[in-house]
């Protein structure tokens, strides 16, 4: 990994780790316990920021993929694949922490509610993103097909956000992004916003780290291809 990216990723990573410590202090020692659900509501402070980062990651995938299809710049494909891997990790966090909260709050781990179902669909779409990339014989075609999947997959994000407004849902509606403003206790809002900040910094630092891996991997592949080329070609 080249030095500037390495050091930027490392600095952001350290900031992310410090942020994680501060976030945990806020979650477990500072924020008040929610009156109805009790202590389990504290899952909210990782569940929602993880969802935010996952959506942002897939937004980055869609944006980079669209520009990649237009300009054909390899770096954009590298950014897209790095963001997609992070998006998968954080979507998995959402899909595993939500049911634990749901078991206590709703009495069941899973319901085929529109928001839950669409989030699971998002996970599968981006699993498809990696499968398309790996299964296509020509790497260049694989990258282009994956870019299309990345763009189409991102269309699921607004559907997930609006599903609780459009359909009758067991999942709670938006508490921050709504026209009349956030409806959270100030300390809860501060903790949630800290979570958003920490997860965002952490995501971008790890995405930069993953980008370094992708660049090194392609350099190794290019070198291997150069060595295998017949003399005079």
């Amino acid at each position: 990994m080249a030095s500037p990216i390495k050091w930027r990723a490392l600095t952001a990573g350290i900031a992310g780790v410090v942020g994680i410590v501060v976030l945990h202090w806020m979650v477990f020692f500072w924020v008040p316990t929610e009156a109805t659900m009790g202590v389990i509501q504290r899952i909210f402070y990782i569940h929602v920021p993880a969802a935010w980062v996952a959506f942002m990651a897939f937004g980055v995938v869609a944006l980079c993929s669209a520009i990649y299809l237009w300009l054909g710049d390899e770096r954009l494909d590298m950014m897209a694949v790095s963001a997609a891997e992070g998006g998968m990790v954080f979507t998995t966090v959402v899909l595993l922490t939500g049911p634990l909260w749901g078991k206590i709050a709703w009495g069941t781990y899973w319901v085929w509610d529109p928001r839950l179902t669409l989030t699971l669909l998002l996970w599968f779409i981006y699993l498809g993103y990696f499968m398309v990339r790996a299964a296509t014989e020509s790497p260049e075609r694989g990258k282009r097909f994956a870019a299309v999947v990345g763009i189409v997959g991102a269309l699921d994000i607004p559907l997930i956000h609006l599903s609780v407004v459009w359909f009758r849902s067991l999942h709670p509606g938006p508490v921050v992004l709504k026209p009349e403003g956030p409806s959270l206790h100030p300390q809860m809002l501060a903790t949630l916003l800290t979570g958003f900040g920490v997860f965002t910094v952490l995501f971008f630092s790890l995405m930069a780290y993953r980008f370094g891996l992708e660049r090194a991997r392609r350099a190794a592949a290019a070198r291997a291809a150069g060595r295998l080329r017949p003399a005079g070609a």
């Binding site: 009790g38 202590v39 899952i43 990782i46 990790v89 966090v93 634990l100 370094g212 090194a216 190794a220």
Partner: protein
């Protein structure tokens, strides 16, 4: 330890953490769960443990893959 085995290590560690928590979850609402911490606390602990184990697993996975590729780039005999 081979590279593939190395990649599996964080996931095996996560599986062990989860497996160690299962007996406590089984008792939740009855034995240890309700007497001391309660099921909500166990689920809260599990949620945070799973979240950070996944993120840590991703970091370890990137580090191992990067180390392997950098070794490939440094050693001219490997392709």
């Amino acid at each position: 330890m081979s590279d593939r085995a190395g990649l599996r290590a964080p996931f095996l560690a996560l599986a062990l953490v989860l497996a160690s928590a299962l007996p406590a979850l089984g008792q939740a609402g009855g034995g240890l769960g309700s007497q001391t911490l309660g099921r909500s606390y166990w689920f809260l602990f599990l949620a945070y443990a799973i979240a950070w184990a996944l993120v840590l697993g991703w970091v370890v996975s990137i580090a191992r893959r990067l180390a392997r590729v950098e070794k490939e780039l440094e050693d001219p005999r490997e392709t």
